[in-house]
């Protein structure tokens, strides 16, 4: 009602009146000294709505209408009751959306995501760009051949066919039209309705399957039953083992890799704290162990596990009989290894229990062994007709008593533990023992001792020798296997290493398409030698002198020349006569020689020559006096002595020479100056060795020394363009992998 009246009221007002009214209201409000923050109001429809001016609702929080209020009115009718219920349920299930992020922050996130996306998009070009950069000759425009090559392929085959007369005639009547087919995406037929439906069905199926899988996974994750998980684990392990064995046969390389993986996981577990019995669970068990049998067993199992893990894998092979027995049996053999015995002495009840338990298990074992033996005997009887040499494989000398030894080599990983039940099962199942043995043998040759349950049949005389023999055989086998493995590894490791390195490199750089440089030429990346015309072409002599002056060594030449005197080294002849040379004799000889060459002094002569040569190379003083400059000039006018002295550039008196201390040797230093200026002083960029560079220079490219074809290849320019053709920017047709 109120709003109605106000509207009417407004109608009567003119604009001026409205303004007046506003002013009046303002004034009235100002009377009251508290400042009112006016509610923002929207007046005009605008494109940009400021978030600060949003009007919440007319009545504030109190006036807002909630959905429950609306549904209340529906209660009156029974038919609508359901609606209100549904609304309520929906209301309960729905969550309030989280508050949107602050604008700058949201923008930042958006930008980062968008940038990453763009980066990936640009990565697609990497291959094309690298190919272009590396290629030794590119012909622009690049796109041309892409468009062209498709035309020819159409009629290519028909070009070779000899046409019959009839065909020629027909052609005359009906000239063929050249057809150019350029496959475009638009030309491809769209899917028919049926196909589309089928495709959609397929997609729906896939989605349903995915959903089902997800649901299953979720359900399975929720299962808490330990037994279930144990069974699952066992199954998984079985599967893995089977796969592994298969791999051993088909792909030993892969198997080795897998083995390494297994080893690695074992190592990881070894240095992790799992199975160390330090966790919460273990502590709880510890407390319970006193009263609870099961928890004791659990603990023991855990401990054996940890022991296995903490041992190095090589000791694995020598696992004792105890270990091969099921984990459940483990407690009976603990005496020394039982940590609870080591650290804290168990109470009497516990000890009693253990002893009882032990007795029970000993009995059990005996019976089990007996039954085992019986079973194996049966088996062997069955398989008597099989080759005897197969049985002899391991122990050929013995064939009297048949004793079956059950042996199980401990599996490497923690989770690869097997039960006796299983092995027994196998035994029962497998009536063809020899065959199995054969298979096993093969396995062993291929791989190491880390395979799972294995059987050995041995024929022995008495029980004591059995173990010895068994051990010997085992050792032998192990050695053999180790050797095999080593050999295999030797073969494989370098390969795998290289692969690993490659993988690492892949990880490091996202796209590494670096190719070797196809044509090596020196790359010179240095500033231009930029000069000005007016630059003084400096007098070479002067510059030489200056450099010499600046680099002149302060080293003083020796005053005493030790070479001044001819030295004669005594030569010892290989004679039987005792070599008794006195100093006097030497002096005599010298005197004789000097007497002989009294007139021509070779040494002095040579020295003179040498000094002459040195003088020749020595820079001379340069007289820079300008006659007539600052004084009178002309004929007969002498240049001032002082001036002369002042303007002469003095050459250094002594310049170090290469042959300075070389005795009887004169080195002509200027001889190779002419060649030197043409020689390269350092190896240019892409080359790494002098040899490489020299080889590149030595190989000629001209057609004077090379056949024409080679010459043409060698002189191909890096970039060729077509005259008067516009080179357009690269288009997406050239993208090598368009789909990714």
């Amino acid at each position: 009602m109120e709003s109605d009246t106000s509207e009417n009221y407004e109608d009567f007002y003119t604009e001026e009146d409205a303004q007046k009214h506003e002013k009046l209201v303002d004034k009235v409000l100002r009377l009251n000294k508290t400042q009112h923050i006016r509610k923002p109001s929207r007046t005009e429809p605008t494109l940009q709505i400021s978030e600060f001016n949003l009007v919440k609702s007319s009545g504030g929080d109190k006036g807002s209408v909630e959905i429950n209020d609306l549904t209340k009115s529906l209660r009156n009718r029974k038919s609508r009751l359901r609606i209100s219920e549904n609304v309520k349920r929906a209301h309960k299930a729905s969550h309030t959306l989280p508050k949107p992020l602050e604008k700058p922050q949201a923008n930042k996130i958006r930008r980062t995501v968008a940038y990453e996306k763009t980066r990936l998009e640009l990565d697609r070009w990497e291959a094309t760009v690298t190919a272009n950069r590396v290629s030794t000759n590119l012909s622009f425009p690049l796109n041309d051949d892409v468009k062209m090559d498709q035309k020819e392929s159409e009629n290519f085959a028909s070009m070779w066919r000899v046409k019959s007369k009839l065909a020629e005639e027909l052609e005359k009547h009906e000239p063929t039209v050249e057809e150019y087919h350029i496959s475009l995406e638009q030309e491809e037929f769209p899917l028919t309705m049926k196909e589309m439906l089928a495709r959609r069905k397929e997609a729906a199926k896939l989605r349903a399957y995915q959903g089902y899988k997800e649901a299953k996974a979720r359900r399975q994750n929720k299962i808490k039953s330990k037994k279930y998980h144990r069974i699952q684990k066992r199954e998984k392990i079985k599967k893995k083992l089977k796969e592994f064995e298969q791999l051993q046969k088909t792909n030993p390389e892969e198997a080795l890799k897998k083995l390494e993986e297994i080893e690695k996981s074992r190592i990881e577990e070894r240095f992790s704290l799992r199975h160390k019995s330090t966790g919460k669970w273990a502590r709880n068990q510890q407390i319970r162990a006193k009263y609870d049998k099961e928890s004791r067993q659990n603990l023991a199992q855990q401990l054996t596990l940890s022991r296995d893990l903490t041992q190095k894998s090589k000791t694995n092979g020598s696992s004792s009989e105890e270990e091969d027995e099921d984990v459940e049996k483990a407690p009976m053999g603990i005496d020394e290894t039982n940590p609870w015995v080591n650290g804290v002495k168990p109470g009497k009840e516990v000890a009693d229990f253990i002893s009882g338990y032990r007795k029970y298990w000993l009995e059990q074992n005996k019976t089990a062994q007996k039954s085992d033996a019986e079973k194996t005997e049966d088996v062997l009887e069955n398989s008597e007709n099989v080759d005897s040499n197969l049985i002899k494989l391991d122990q050929p000398e013995s064939n009297k008593n048949v004793l079956l030894k059950k042996k199980k080599q401990k599996v490497v990983t923690s989770d690869l533990s097997f039960d006796v039940e299983e092995t027994v099962e196998k035994l029962e199942k497998d009536k063809k023992v020899p065959q199995k043995k054969k298979k096993q043998k093969r396995n062993e040759q291929m791989n190491n001792s880390k395979s799972t349950s294995e059987w050995e049949v041995s024929l022995v005389e008495n029980g004591e020798a059995v173990e010895d023999m068994f051990k010997r055989a085992e050792n032998k086998l192990k050695k053999k296997m180790l050797r095999n493995v080593k050999q295999l590894k030797k073969k494989l490791v370098p390969k795998t290493l290289a692969k690993l390195q490659r993988e690492v490199a892949k990880d490091k750089v996202k796209v590494d398409l670096s190719l070797p440089i196809q044509k090596k030429t020196p790359q010179i990346d240095e500033a231009l030698i930029e000069n000005i015309d007016a630059e003084i072409r400096s007098n070479e002599e002067l510059s030489n002198l200056k450099t010499i002056l600046s680099s002149q060594t302060k080293q003083k030449p020796c005053d005493i020349d030790p070479e001044k005197y001819l030295k004669i080294n005594p030569t010892n002849l290989a004679t039987a006569i005792p070599n008794i040379v006195t100093n006097e004799e030497v002096d005599d000889q010298r005197a004789v020689i000097s007497e002989a060459f009294e007139d021509d002094d070779i040494v002095d002569e040579f020295n003179k020559d040498k000094s002459n040569e040195a003088d020749k190379d020595k820079p001379k003083n340069i007289n820079l006096t300008l006659p007539g400059w600052g004084s009178w000039g002309g004929t007969g006018v002498k240049v001032n002595k002082r001036k002369k002295r002042r303007f002469t550039l003095k050459a250094p008196k002594k310049i170090p020479r290469k042959d300075d201390n070389k005795g009887f040797l004169i080195i002509n230093e200027s001889a190779q100056n002419k060649v030197k200026e043409h020689m390269v002083s350092e190896v240019p960029f892409p080359f790494k060795t002098v040899k490489d560079f020299e080889a590149s220079v030595r190989a000629p490219i001209s057609n004077t020394f090379m056949p024409e074809t080679a010459y043409k290849k060698l002189i191909k320019p890096a970039v060729t363009t077509k005259m008067g053709t516009i080179i357009e920017p690269m288009s997406k047709d050239l993208l090598l992998n368009k789909n990714s």
Partner: protein
Amino acid sequence: MKVKVISRNPDDYLRETKHDIHKVPRNYDPGLHPFEAAREYTRALNAVKLEKVFAKPFVGNLDGHRDGVSCISNHPKRLSVLISGAYDGEVRVWDLPQKLCLRNFVAHEGVVRGVIYNPSGNHFLTLGDDKTIKTWKTAAPQFGEEEEPVNTVISKTVLTGISHHVKDPVFATCGEICQVWEETRNEPVRTFEWGVDSLHDIAFNPVEPNLLASCASDRSIILYDTRDSGPLRKVVLKLRTNKICWNPMEAFIFTAANEDYNLYTFDTRNLKKPANVHMDHIGAVTYVDYAPTGREFVSGSYDKTIRIFETSKGHSREVYHTKRMQRITCVQWSLDNKYILNGSDEMNIRIWKARASEKLGPLKPREKAALNYSEALKEKYAAHPKIRRIARHRHVPKHVYNAQKELRTIRDKGKRKDANRRAHSKPGEVPHQPEREKHVLKEDH
């Protein structure tokens, strides 16, 4: 009895027609040619000398403007047409081979800030200080007709630069903000804002046309995506970037002409540091344009020189200057990779050869082969000091020479100081900073 007779195939020594060159049998046994390397070296030396003899890059100039040339643009479909705008608002259309002005009219009040053809070449857009974008027909008006723009858009903001999409009728302008327009509309389709700083150049990526780069007065280069996300990333350099150009053959590479005398080539995927730093200018670099092959680019500078750089190298391979050429305002590489055009402060547009000693016009096959051979020789012996000296020697004006000398001493001083500091402090305290890592201040997300 066995008789050995010399028998030769006449094809080996007889020519098919009298126009053929005589076939000279030749033994290529390297043992017979002991001076191979020496002879080739001499040839290389001669080739490089001849190159210098023929190095006459200046082709001609177009004069007619009455004020400094502010911007030029190539026709996307025709090689012979060029369009230029000047500081007095005048726009001229040129016929390059004849060096004639075909058309001139005053398009804007104040400076013409940008001229650009649309991809089809039917229209061109001009953009001026009077905040208008005008579209003109390429065809000259008939006799008696007035020069009138086809369309005029009055912008709300100041406009400083324009760039056109390679194919679509979409263009982008910059000024206070970055705006994307469609040719048929009078309002910007999209506007992008990041920060408050004004933008002075913008460039569409020609290969991935949804990418835009612009440079702002806060010394930054901003990348945009025109599709939906808007701004992508910002790189702040030590000094302002004047001009940006994308490599037309490598989608992710762009080069920025910087106020600090250098040019920086960036890989869009890794903006932390430039992929290459190109030095040699001795004044602020005002303009950069890529060769259509994407192998080289040309830059114009406030130091009155034009330099040509190879993309993979840090130093220029060529420097162009003339006595009368003043500050360079704009440079363009012609679309056939043969010429370089530049406008400068002193009202002229100059035409240069992209390769100074290249022979223009059609070549006979033998001539071409000979040129290729000498080119290969120069490449092979490039490291030899004599050849290197001749090939790399350039004459530069005095002011450039002196400024260069000064710069060199400044750089040396910096290096010496660093070395001294390194020598007198704990090892590792003063790390060696590569040149490429010196110039980028930060990368904003």
